[in-house]
């Protein structure tokens, strides 16, 4: 039965050039690894990587040998210089990732021996990790997982060049599947520390989209088309009605004629107001925006953990929010604020640059005169005027010149919320009433799948506050005067029909988006947001209260040992699923072995049959027939399942005396 097979090999590791097959696997790994990086790499790096990979593919296609070592070395030096010049530095996250990407492509070009492939695979692993600096969303994670499987398959191709593609993918999937329990255990139990361990490079947090610290015409409308999520809120009770959903960002008091900037405000551990009215508890999950402000609902309750309060009623975090973070917040929407405001703040809220927007200024004077200098009456007259001024709310306001407010109010009459709020505040100030611009987010929609309130960048908004003696700061939203739909039903409801169509979304797409975002939220909360606090909570629920490193290490070793034991059990499982024919033949041999007629390993069924017939003449025919029949079914052709069944019956019926 033994087949002669001899492949005398000289050494242990074949140091010959790689086969095409192995190179193809590696190329596929590199492509899949680099694809998610393309939006984040500088254009020239992406182009260079594509060119190098294309070159590699071409050489592979033509069966050419790798290019000369010197050429690759020159290319490496060139790429390093390019990175130094392009980034202005060599060390740091972004230049590092670019360098890794180029190195991987260059390494692919020079893969000649097994070691090159191993190095390339390690580089691919690093790149698969580094995409998470930029993006940890579900699709990117799925892509990284696929790339990891391919990388494992590349290693497999290196060790076992003869396996089929299917077998190779199956083995790498099996390895990953067996690694999965280890991953889960370590993910849950590995002691989380709030990084960083050492100083992060200066470019660790590049600019993020979101509200800016100042406002000028166009700064908010550019966010209008962004469907990116700014934050999510989960309310313990019913969420507030849309008209109360004002999430407070920077408060802008200083105006220089074009730009609105915040005035200096003091920061304290407690808010400067007495809360009153009903309380609303909610959890805010903030996407990183690299700023201190928390975008809390008006007005934050006192004594919130990890929150400080500014004198303009914002809630602030201790450090800029650089990771998706969760805050337990509460709000008292009906609180009266700023009843006793300092003269400095009020003076700043009345100040206007000299000679700015003279037409608007004159209008305000006229309105104030009509109202008889009563702030409440002025407010009403200004609101009335804006409502009647036939202003259009649009995402595409025309470009305005130096006297932007005059041009908006009297000429173009088309503007976005920043135009409305700026004009309103200007009018109030010119009429002698303290007023200021408040930026933040307004509205948000409830995801029916998981009930969270999702606030997008397109919900960014600017409104105003006026100070009235005895009432304090009161919110006034001039945008609502021209486009009431904006406040109650979101941006698209406030826009003219032609523009709204651009933002409109068919129902099925909307419901798909709800599902997708609910899945993302769960992913964010449980996978990405698994931080030291969450770990403590989860472990406490599992019965590990206040675990120290030692306890966690013990728990990890126990869990890992159990998993290892299970794996070893799997490895020992030597009994394979035998065919029914094999099973009955084995039982036949076992029965005869009990009578002292063990089949020798080298004995075929025919020989065995002869020996049995000789040893047991009484049943000679039957024994020999069983053996011949088995040999016919097993090795011959044209045996049916009927034959197998009848042989099984003969074997079960066989009685040895």
């Amino acid at each position: 039965m033994a087949k002669a097979l001899a492949t005398p090999g000289a050494g242990a590791q074949p140091a010959t050039s790689l086969t095409r097959n192995q190179a193809c696997w590696l190329l596929a790994t590199a492509v899949l690894t680099l694809v998610p990086h393309t939006p984040y790499l500088p254009a020239w790096v992406t182009a260079l990587c594509m060119a190098l990979l294309g070159w590699r593919a071409l050489r592979l296609w033509r069966g050419q040998l790798p290019p000369h070592r010197l050429l690759i070395m020159l290319a490496t030096i060139g790429a390093c210089l390019g990175i130094r010049v392009g980034f202005g530095q060599f060390f740091g996250k972004d230049p590092g990732v670019s360098l890794l990407a180029i190195l991987l492509c260059l390494k692919l070009l020079e893969t000649k021996v097994a070691r090159d492939i191993r190095v390339a695979v390690l580089l691919a692993f690093f790149l698969q990790l580094s995409i998470f600096f930029e993006n940890q969303s579900l699709p990117v994670a799925a892509l990284a997982l696929c790339a990891t499987l391919l990388a494992l398959a590349s290693l497999l191709a290196l060790v076992d060049a003869n396996a089929s593609t299917k077998a190779r993918l199956r083995t790498s999937a099996l390895l990953a599947a067996q690694g999965l329990p280890f991953m889960l255990v370590l993910f849950v139990l590995f002691p989380r520390v709030q990084g960083p361990l050492w100083g992060l490079p200066a470019d660790a947090f590049s600019a993020r989209s979101g509200l800016a610290e100042s406002m000028q015409p166009g700064s908010i409308s550019q966010l209008g088309l962004s469907e990116e999520i700014a934050f999510r809120a989960e309310f313990d009770g019913l969420p507030p009605p849309p008209g109360q959903r004002y999430w407070r960002g920077p408060v802008l008091s200083e105006f220089d004629g074009t730009t609105w900037r915040p005035a200096t405000s003091t920061i304290a551990a407690e808010p400067s107001y007495q809360t009153s009215g009903p309380r609303m508890d909610y959890r805010l999950t903030l996407e990183p925006h690299n700023r201190n402000w928390l975008l809390a609902l008006d007005f934050p309750a006192a004594g919130l953990q990890g929150v400080r309060y500014s004198s303009d009623f914002r809630a602030l975090a201790d450090t800029p929010v650089r990771h998706r973070s969760r805050f337990n917040l509460a709000a008292y929407p009906e609180t009266g604020v700023g009843l006793e405001e300092t003269p400095d703040v009020l003076a700043a809220a009345r100040r206007l640059p000299a000679g700015s927007n003279p037409r608007t200024h004159a209008l305000a004077q006229q309105l104030a005169a009509e109202a008889g200098s009563n702030p409440r009456a002025i407010l009403e007259r200004v609101q009335h005027h804006l409502r009647e001024a036939k202003l259009t709310y649009t995402l595409e306001p025309p470009l305005l010149g130096q006297q932007a407010i005059d041009e908006f109010l009297f000429d173009s009459r088309r503007g976005f919320c920043e135009h409305f709020s700026a004009t309103f505040v200007f009018l109030m100030r010119a009429a002698g009433v303290p007023a200021r611009v408040v930026t933040g987010y307004q509205g948000g929609e409830i995801n029916p799948i998981d009930g969270t309130l999702v606030v997008r960048q397109s919900d960014a908004h600017a409104w105003a506050e006026v100070w009235i003696d005895g009432r304090g700061w009161e919110r006034a939203d001039p945008t609502a005067l021209a486009a009431p739909g904006r406040i109650d039903s979101g941006l698209s409801a406030g826009l003219p029909a032609t523009e709204a169509r651009l933002l409109a979304m068919p129902d099925w797409l909307r419901s798909l988006r709800y599902r997708w975002e609910a899945a993302n939220n769960a992913w964010n909360q449980w996978i990405l947001g698994y931080n030291p606090e969450r770990q403590r909570d989860l472990l406490a629920r599992l019965g590990l209260r206040k675990p120290d490193w030692g306890t966690l290490a013990t728990a990890m070793s126990i869990a890992a040992s159990v998993l290892m034991g299970l794996l070893l059990l799997w490895a020992q499982r030597q009994r394979q699923a035998r065919s029914p024919l094999q099973k009955s033949w084995d039982s036949f041999c076992r029965t005869l072995a009990r009578h002292g007629l063990t089949r020798h390993p080298w004995e075929g069924p025919a020989d065995y049959g002869k020996r049995l017939a000789f040893a047991r003449p009484a049943q000679a025919k039957e024994l020999r027939d069983i053996c011949t029949e088995y040999a016919r079914i097993r090795y011959g052709s044209g045996a049916s399942s009927e034959d197998i069944r009848s042989l099984q019956q003969r074997i079960t019926k066989l009685k040895l005396t």
């Binding site: 090999g9 000289a10 990790l129 494992l152 076992d160 067996q178 690694g179 280890f182």
Partner: protein
Amino acid sequence: MKIAALRQHLDRWLFRIGPAEIAPIRLKQRRIFVLPTGSGIAFAVALLVMLLASINYNLSLGYALTFLLGGAGIASMVHAFRNLLGLSISPGRTEPVFCGETAVFRLTLQNPRDERRPALLLRVHDGATSFELPAEDTVVISIPCTTRRRGPLPIGRTVLETRWPLGLIRAWSVFVPELDCLVFPFPEASPPPLPGAAAGQRHGLRSGGSGDDDFAGLRQHRESDSPRHVAWKVLARGGPLLTKEFSGVQGGDVLLNWHDLPSHLDEEARISRLTAWVIAAERAGVAFALVLPGITLPVGRGIKHMHACLRALALHGGRDVPHG
């Protein structure tokens, strides 16, 4: 020398290597060892760097990827172990070779599992053979190794190893099957002519002279005989199946005597010359006798006789008689 001693100690204590084993050797859990390879260590270092990066940048998915790769690495250890588990190895045949030629050890490996066993490597002395085993199959593997001295060459410490699946882990097993290869002495390159043969009888020493020039008689047919030599005429006449026997040109009998060699030759040189003469005599079809200290092989002829003489020469001087 110290390293060799240490290795022997390790072999006895850790790998439990004792005397050669009666076949078949079945690889059980306790006979299989695993350790990371160089690339396995590089992989571990890379994972450590990835873990540090994940901690520093609070990358939850970084942790996940690192741990997943770590888990796959651990699983690959079990896969490597499983790739050897349950294999059975039995010694096959070896053919004698002359010293300096390549000895080929044959081992029969049986894979009882219904899965292919890829990327296996057998190491014997300085030789190695890589191969794979198909599912539920038995395969004979030849491992070549160089020979340096005459006498029996036991297969000795045999290592079966695999780096499958990822090349990060090496699983191996050490065993000593009962298998020897007989190494004949190295024949002297240009030996003096055969002794004791008269000049007139030297015509038997034609180059390439084989033993089937002249018809010498008939004998009973054996299965291994070439059909060219069957006495078809006899058979056609209705006679029995006979084989024609040929013999080279008959020369005078030659005595190859250890004691007659020049006294300046040392022991190995004498053996080398006698070996060359034995081959030459057999080629020439000359019947010869061999006298060694303590052993005398009577006059004879043919492959069998030559092998007996070469064997005696190989084992001369207390080299152990090989088993089998």
